[in-house]
């Protein structure tokens, strides 16, 4: 009855070899991390034959390395495990909160941020948070590794820049400078177990005078891919991220959104709410930045 093959290679090299061989033979492969998207989709949407390549036990995809310049976070670490890491939580509270929004306690025992990004849904909750933190996606290829900025990774609904013989190892995220804070908020009609109708992430850095020197704003569920909204960031840089500036950033997000009307929300509703979320996330990010100024 089984309509799939399954392998769980033990090294990155072996994984790449398996992927390469299958690709050469014209066999469909699919990377399996937590499986919280893969298994659901295989059961309900498309059950055509494939080889599952399980990467969740590789050393590299489970690594967390906190270094002076960069922090590396493995692609396959379950959200529940990430959220037990106090150091990561202090560095990127917004990103970890985004991971903590995924599903329920049970889902978080498996769901990874790598899987969330590679699933490439417009509504993936961790993607805007990765983008505002300038995360670089570290991709394993036969030539070694290559990196892609997270805002360039997703190319369309359910599509991304990975080739069939590649996979994501993890994220290299610059260590936030003093006075930096991030936040992510999404809107769902319920309290959990739902898909974002709109989402917004903000990261900003304040100098000693409280002036915003750097900002990144990203919005989700309001366009075919999560968007980096530079006009919203520009509205914040040079200000104290006060009410007015946050309102302008909010307006920039509403303007940048290209939402559709579907069962989860209308164009008008999403446009409006994504701005509200940007403003509220911006205020949280600012508070965090203020308390991080040393």
């Amino acid at each position: 009855m089984s309509n799939f093959g399954y392998v769980a290679p033990s090294t990155v090299e072996e994984t790449l070899a398996v992927l390469q061989r299958a690709t050469d033979q014209g066999q469909r492969t699919q990377i399996l991390a937590g499986g919280t998207d893969v298994i659901v989709q295989f059961r309900s949407l498309d059950s055509s034959h494939r080889l599952f390549v399980d990467i969740k036990s590789l050393k590299e995809t489970n690594d967390v390395r906190i270094e002076n310049e960069h922090i590396f976070v493995g692609a396959a670490i379950p959200s529940g495990v990430l959220n037990e890491n106090a150091e990561l939580k202090a560095l990127f509270p917004g990103l970890l909160e985004a991971a903590d929004l995924i599903g329920s306690t049970q889902i978080q025992g498996r769901a990874s941020i790598g899987g969330n990004l590679c699933n490439s849904s417009p509504a993936g909750d961790t993607i805007p948070a990765l983008i505002v933190n300038s995360a670089l996606c570290v991709i394993a290829t036969s030539e070694g590794t290559r990196t892609v900025p997270s805002e360039k990774f997703v190319t369309g609904v359910g599509r991304n820049c990975l080739a069939a013989h590649e996979f994501l190892l993890g994220f290299q995220i610059p260590r936030p400078s003093a006075g930096t804070g991030d936040a992510y908020l999404r809107f769902i009609p319920r309290t959990e177990m739902d898909i974002a109708v709109a989402g917004a992430a903000v990261s900003l850095s304040l100098n000693h005078e409280g002036i915003c020197e750097r900002a990144r704003v990203s919005i989700g569920a309001v366009a075919p891919t999560p968007l980096l909204v530079s006009s919203a960031a520009e509205a914040l840089v040079g200000t104290t991220a006060d009410e007015d500036a946050l309102q302008q950033a909010a307006q920039a997000c509403s303007d940048a959104a290209q939402p559709i009307t579907d069962k989860r929300g209308t164009v008008e509703y999403r446009r409006k709410v994504v701005g509200v979320l940007c403003r509220r996330a911006g205020a949280i990010a600012k508070d965090r930045a203020l308390s991080n100024r040393n």
């Binding site: 809107f187 009609p189 319920r190 309290t191 177990m193 579907d262 709410v273």
Partner: protein, 740 residues
């Protein structure tokens, strides 16, 4: 107030007899049965909301390896033309997206799926009728070309299957006397019952024509007669064995594929299993009616209602039979009104046939009335509970639907609400509060029970009501009270259609009342036999023996020196005193007491996103007598959550072709646990004189009031009313923006 009764078992909260099996995952639900050599049946469903079937070609499916049969309505008795038979497999037209029109049986579910894809169907697509407005307009597209309103041969074909009208007094005069009048229209969307367990059955047949069906249902005897009807068999050809049931709420009172599984089994000679997936449950099983309700109420300055009218249109789905009748009968039920007029319309649309859902028909019409009463309270500047007390129905009031109310508990519930700390505590600026009243008739109907006493005195109850809400525990408690033996020595079993006497479905909140009555009477039968055997042992007259605290004792004044005989003592010697002890009762229960409730919702609103959060919810309800208070509270809480879901986010999203776009629990948003506050419950007990312990049904009333209570809370906070449900974030935000 109710008299204080001195019960030993009734009113306690023991663990249910079926609890261990259920929490350890051992209980067998509908999809758990597998038989040797069993096939899997699947149904082909219409991709169109409305189309003529020009041709169905099953040959390619039948030719597939692993396929044992492929059938359509042509394989069923053609002389049976009921709506039920045409809902189970479409005849000449498909009437909603998801309407079944063919079925296959195959070795595996996957082969069955693949076979469905090979069935060729040619359709002539017709425009769908999707709203009450479209269906009721002149020259509307017809869902059924030969349907005439109220079967009147002289009227033209119409989508209005039936009308109702009843009145009392003179509404023109009543409105003329009114100082204030409220007139509003309200729309309530369809809501699904949302039971967690999908429909499932296994059918097997023997060459002699005998059939056995295992299925998840609220009513095995109703499944038997419905299946017999569609297949033109006699009921005695069919045995139905109910599984444990994972929720029904009215939605498992009808059959969808049991007759199909039987037919497939007859054609293949093998057992056939059919299980719906969640999408099929949403697309093809009955939701509650979407409705349009127009209400007008007039009152004097002191709050006394002088007149009221209701115009109620209910979507029936693709076949006649919406609950507009009970909707009409319940709309004014809580009030003593001299002048009223109620008109109702049962309207066909190209959507699945509606099914019962907890208090079928009442949540929609009473949402309208309870919102109108709230508006009246605003206009009169009266407390909403005082206004209701001023008009409340009580013992002796002639109910709008005819009978004179026996003792009922509405006034007691309203008074308890006024005293309740949750009501006495006023809300802050950011919180809105809304009050509403709920009501349901409740029903009696037929039940049977047998009570068997084992040789050690253990008690075994056999009855026919599938246990949805803890009814086995209630049966055991009533038996414990009646017999005077410990609860732990009693077990209750739900029989099949051949192992227990006839029993109507678990529905209409009748089980604890009617089947409970049968259990009590069967226990009384056992007691009578025990007394006779004690009398025989003691060489006394039966009249000289009493039954007290679970023992036979000589009556006071009877001069004999003997030890009392317990049930266990009598059981031990029963082979010598006349054989097994077996009590029986069967009845058609009369006098199901009406059940009233008062609920209030406290909400906050995020004015930038339109999200309504329920911060507190209080339910006060008359249970007559709470046999097992925890399960009464469970009904009150479950109904409240379903009502709140209906008020807030639940709705079917149809596209212009009549296709439901949110046929999953992800996008059909029932509340999740973290959405809900604790539902505070207070049980009021105004005993029902028609039951030995005073029981009223409690299962349905709880869903009625939360709709209007929530609407009224939103009105309280926003300062203006949103008439239509659901109060979902986009709808609320649009209303706030429009009001700015």
């Amino acid at each position: 107030m109710a008299e204080v009764a001195n019960f030993k078992a009734i009113g306690t909260r023991p663990i249910r007899p079926d609890g261990v099996e259920k929490v350890t995952g051992r209980a067998n639900f509908g999809a758990d049965l597998n038989l040797p050599d069993m096939l899997h049946g699947k149904v082909l469903r219409s991709p169109h909301a409305h189309a003529r079937i020009k041709r169905i070609d099953l040959t390619k499916a039948q030719a597939m390896e692993g396929v044992y049969a492929a059938i359509s309505s042509a394989d069923f008795p053609q002389e049976v033309t009921s709506s039920l038979s045409r809902n189970i497999l479409a005849r000449d037209k498909v009437l909603y997206h998801g309407h079944a029109l063919a079925a296959v049986a195959a070795r595996t579910p996957r082969i069955a799926e693949e076979a469905l894809a090979r069935i060729e169907v040619e359709y002539e697509v017709l425009p769908p009728v999707l709203t009450l407005d479209d269906a009721m307009r002149e020259k509307a597209t017809l869902v059924s070309e030969d349907l005439r309103t109220n079967d009147d041969e002289n009227s033209p074909p119409s989508n209005i299957a039936a009308t109702q009208r009843f009145e009392r007094g003179d509404v023109t005069k009543g409105f003329a006397e009114a100082d204030v009048i409220v007139q509003e229209e309200f729309r309530v969307p369809s809501a699904h019952q949302g039971y967690i367990e999908p429909h499932a059955c296994v059918a097997t047949s023997n060459p002699g024509g005998r059939v056995t069906v295992w299925c998840t249902t609220q009513g095995p005897f109703e499944v038997r007669s419905a299946t017999a009807g569609v297949l033109n068999k006699t009921v005695s050809d069919i045995k139905v064995i109910p599984s444990e049931i994972g929720g029904g709420f009215g939605g498992k009172t009808v059959v969808y594929f049991e007759p199909v599984a039987v037919r497939l089994s007859e054609l293949t000679g093998k057992p056939v299993k059919m299980v719906m997936n969640r999408e099929e449950v949403f697309r093809a099983t009955g939701p509650a009616s979407a409705t349009l309700c127009k209400i007008k109420v007039g009152a004097k300055k002191d709050g006394r209602i002088t007149a009221a009218t209701a115009w109620l249109a209910y979507e029936a789905g693709a076949f006649p039979g919406s609950p507009v009748g009970p909707g009409c009968m319940s709309v004014f039920a809580p009030y003593d009104i001299d002048n009223f007029l109620v008109e109702g319309y049962d309207v066909l649309v190209n959507k699945p046939k509606v099914a019962a859902y907890r208090a079928p028909g009442a949540p929609q019409s009473m949402h309208a009335m309870e919102c109108a009463i709230d508006e009246l309270a605003q206009k009169l500047d009266m407390d909403p509970i005082d206004l209701r007390l001023k008009n409340a129905a009580k013992e002796g009031t002639i109910a709008p639907y005819g009978p004179k109310f026996p003792p009922i508990g509405l006034v007691e519930c309203l008074e308890a609400a006024k005293r309740h700390p949750n009501y006495v505590n006023k809300t802050s600026e950011e919180v809105g509060r809304g009050v509403a009243v709920g009501f349901w008739f409740n029903i009696g109907m037929q039940s049977s029970a047998e009570v068997n006493i084992a040789e050690d005195g253990a008690v075994s109850i056999m009855e026919g009501s599938p246990d949805i809400g803890g009814s086995r525990a209630s049966m055991c408690l009533m038996a414990a009270e009646t017999l005077g033996v410990p609860y732990e020595t009693i077990n209750a079993h739900v029989g099949d259609t051949e192992s227990t006497g006839f029993c109507n479905l678990t529905g209409g909140s009748r089980t604890t009342f009617a089947t409970g009555l049968a259990v009590v009477k069967a226990c009384e039968d056992v007691i009578a036999q025990c007394k006779a055997r004690a009398a025989m042992t003691w060489e006394l007259d039966v009249e000289q023996v009493d039954w007290r605290d679970g023992q036979a004792v000589p009556k006071p004044g009877v001069n004999i020196d003997v030890e009392p005989l317990s049930l266990a003592d009598i059981a031990k010697t029963m082979s010598r005193t006349g054989g097994p002890l077996l009590g029986r009762a069967s009845l058609n229960a009369q006098g199901a007491g009406a059940c009233f409730s008062v609920n209030w919702t406290d909400v906050t609103i995020d004015r930038e996103t339109g999200k309504v959060d329920v911060k507190a919810f209080t339910a006060i309800q008359d249970a007559g007598r709470a046999i097992h208070p925890a399960y009464v509270e469970g009904q009150m809480q479950g109904g409240a959550v379903q009502g709140l879901g209906w008020a807030l986010n639940e709705e079917y999203i149809y596209n212009e072709n009549g296709v439901v776009e949110n046929a999953s629990f992800l996008d059909y948003r029932v509340p999740v646990a973290s959405d809900m506050p604790m539902i505070d419950c207070e049980i009021i007990e105004v005993p029902n004189p028609s039951h030995p312990y005073g029981v009223r049904g409690v299962g349905e009333t709880p869903i009625v009031a939360p709709l209007a209570a929530t609407s009224n809370a939103v009105r309280d906070l926003l300062g203006f009313r949103i008439n239509d449900l659901p109060l979902s974030p986009p709808n609320v935000l649009a209303a706030i923006d429009a009001a700015d």
